[in-house]
Amino acid sequence: MIPASPRLRGGLSGGNLMTGDLILGIVIVAIAILFYSQTLGIKPAPIGLSSADFPRLITVVLMILGGLLILLSLLKIKRAKGGEKKRKIVEKGTLWRFIVLFVMFVLYIAFVDDLGFILTTIPFLFVALSLFSLKNIKNLIQNVIISVVVTLAIYFVFHKIFQVILPTFSL
């Protein structure tokens, strides 16, 4: 029996390594087919490799490897007969932290070019520090200080000493 598929209830639960492998195998084959389809319009070269040949070679190998993974995981699932216990993939609290971090990534990338490195990195670092802190309120002031000091220090070291050009705020 195939164990329950991953679902959202108190975090992501269900699924084990075998079903995980099955899903992984399917994803790999799908990616390979998707990329292979992208090479279909490319004309062959008279001699040597065309732009399509190398990716085609790789995608075909990936399809075979992905297929093997599917086959092996199906065999294992059949043998285990659902004996493996369900386990939580990600705890609920962690899932929320992941989502917040992901949203911060998107916001950071969206605003850094306009607002500059310093103005975006300070809040970004503050949120990241808060996500990692175990005692949120007590560390609030400490986190604010660290975000400001570290951002300014990194900006100074890279921008001024190592000449790495970082985005700056301009109206």
Partner: protein, 495 residues
């Protein structure tokens, strides 16, 4: 040749180079000591600093970090029983019991001396073997280079954590990802799915930063930790004459094993340390006391660990193929600072090669001196709280990926690969082969194209040339060997 050595030494002792080497060695000890920050991550975080440096200075900084991080790993192995680098895992077997007996200082001193000796002895492999191998590899043509890339990739995939199949998938995913964007041969855009931004492709640096550094930060978000608690005190750090004598044989034995294992591609420090430790335990007179806290156990591991460094640089320098995750990152680092490892490096940039050769010894002495200081300050290093360190690493990752081409696209790639790397780890799929695939991909495709042009589209050319055939057979053998050993393991577990 003598001239190159003198020039190399001169470069190493130029104040700026020397200062940067010191920074590299110090950073290496800290990186090695902190659990969760591996040598690969350390090199990646160091890279943004090297963008505008002379390649020789940058190489010294990276080599300094690489060598000393191997010693740094023993600090947390002894004091926390958590190895700072994976290859220091065996060090904890005797190091931690020694610390519990109140001999943490002595254990770390033995580790430092052994690391120093291992590093020095490994230079023999680096200095004598790599030019010979490079000279041999000068005969290679495009077909051989293509097979070499495949060989390197399968070797790393076959020994990577997880399993062979997933390792290979990871490697081929890397090869596929490097095809996205503008094609190196024809110059046309491919595999972009009509998305404009994807024409910039996936450069290996942001992928490397994402998969190794950002992914680790995300992983730590799941398992948040406060500062580490260190129970043992560091008091007596000097070894007596008797103790020095006791660790001499283990050091020599460990170094020998380390050098041999190091030269073989895709082996690395972890295999060398466990092999040396187990072998010594079998025939050493104190063998039955191993694991209860003997200095010999620490010495043999740490010498093997550091002796791997010089050996592992041999295939990287002379053939341009890395042996493990750290040298894969180092290959990326070298390309980034404008060097192309491989036989031509010895012809085109002997200045860099001999600076590293000469600097190798200087790094070992610096490690000895700074390592000794670090033993005294060891508990303070470990007090750097992970919950503050990780967000800072995140910002450094952003700066590192942005600095490459001054583009936010690369930052987005790095952050995205942070999540992809995390998911891959959860699926027990090794990350190193993917990164190596992205680095070696353009090289494999370019050489395959050249081989086909020369042979007028004869795809069998890679099997017809003897060296190329041997390399492909070796790749095949490594897969077969890995399959057999995993089959045996599964059978043993089933029995």
């Amino acid at each position: 040749m003598v001239n190159y050595w003198i020039e190399g030494l001169k470069t190493v002792f130029e104040p700026y180079t020397f200062l940067m080497t010191v920074v590299g060695v110090l950073a290496g000890v800290v990186v090695g000591a902190l659990p969760g920050i591996t040598s690969s991550m350390g090199i990646i975080l160091l890279l943004p600093f090297t963008y505008y440096m002379d390649p020789r200075v940058a190489m010294m900084m990276i080599v300094g970090l690489y060598c000393s991080s191997m010693f740094g790993g023993s600090i947390s192995a002894v004091l926390l029983r958590t190895p700072g680098t994976p290859s220091a895992a065996a060090t904890a077997l005797d190091g931690y019991p020694l610390a519990q007996k109140g001999k943490a200082g002595k254990a770390l001193s033995a580790a430092l001396l052994a690391s120093f000796a291992g590093g020095m002895i490994s230079s023999v492999a680096l200095i004598f073997l790599s030019p010979v191998l490079a000279k041999f590899a000068l005969q290679f043509g495009p077909a051989e280079y293509f097979s070499l890339a495949i060989f390197g990739l399968t070797m790393v995939a076959s020994v990577s954590k997880g399993n062979l199949l997933k390792g290979l998938i990871s490697g081929f995913l890397g090869l596929l990802l490097c095809c996205v964007g503008v094609d190196n041969i024809g110059g046309r855009t491919r595999l972009t799915f009509g998305i404009n931004a994807l024409t910039m492709g996936f450069d290996f640096l942001p992928v490397m930063i994402g998969a190794f550094a950002v992914a680790e930060v995300i992983r730590k978000l799941e398992k948040r930790e406060e500062s580490y608690v260190i129970e043992s005190k560091i008091s007596d750090v000097f070894l007596t004459r008797e103790e020095m004598k006791d660790i001499l044989v283990p050091i020599l034995f460990g170094s020998l094993i380390g050098v041999i294992i190091g030269v073989i591609p895709a082996t690395g420090g972890t295999i060398a340390t466990f092999l040396a430790y187990n072998e010594l335990r079998r025939w050493h007179k104190k063998g039955n006391q191993f694991g209860q806290g003997v200095l010999e156990g620490v010495a043999v591991c740490e010498s093997a660990n550091n002796a791997v460094t010089g050996g592992a640089m041999v295939p990287l320098f002379s053939l341009g193929i890395p042996g493990d995750a750290v040298t894969a990152v180092m290959l990326g680092a070298m390309i980034l600072i404008g060097l192309r490892p491989g036989p031509l490096l010895f012809v085109e940039r002997p200045d860099v090669v001999y600076t590293v050769f000469a600097g190798w010894f200087v790094v070992q002495f610096l490690m000895l001196a700074l390592g000794f200081l670090s033993i005294v300050f060891a508990p303070k290093i470990l007090k750097i709280p992970p919950h503050i360190l990780m967000p800072i690493i995140l910002v450094l990752s952003i700066v590192g990926s942005y600095g490459l081409r001054n583009s936010m696209y690369d930052v987005a790639v790095a952050l995205m690969f942070g999540f992809i790397g995390y998911i891959m780890e959860r699926c027990k799929m090794p990350i190193a082969p993917m990164v190596l695939g992205i680095i070696l991909g353009p090289y494999a495709e370019g050489n395959l194209n050249r081989a086909l042009l020369i042979s007028r589209n004869d795809w069998l050319i890679v099997f017809k040339r003897p060296i190329s055939l041997v390399l492909l057979l070796a790749a095949f053998a490594s897969i077969a060997f890995s399959l057999i050993s995993s089959y045996r393991e599964a059978k043993k577990r089933g029995a």
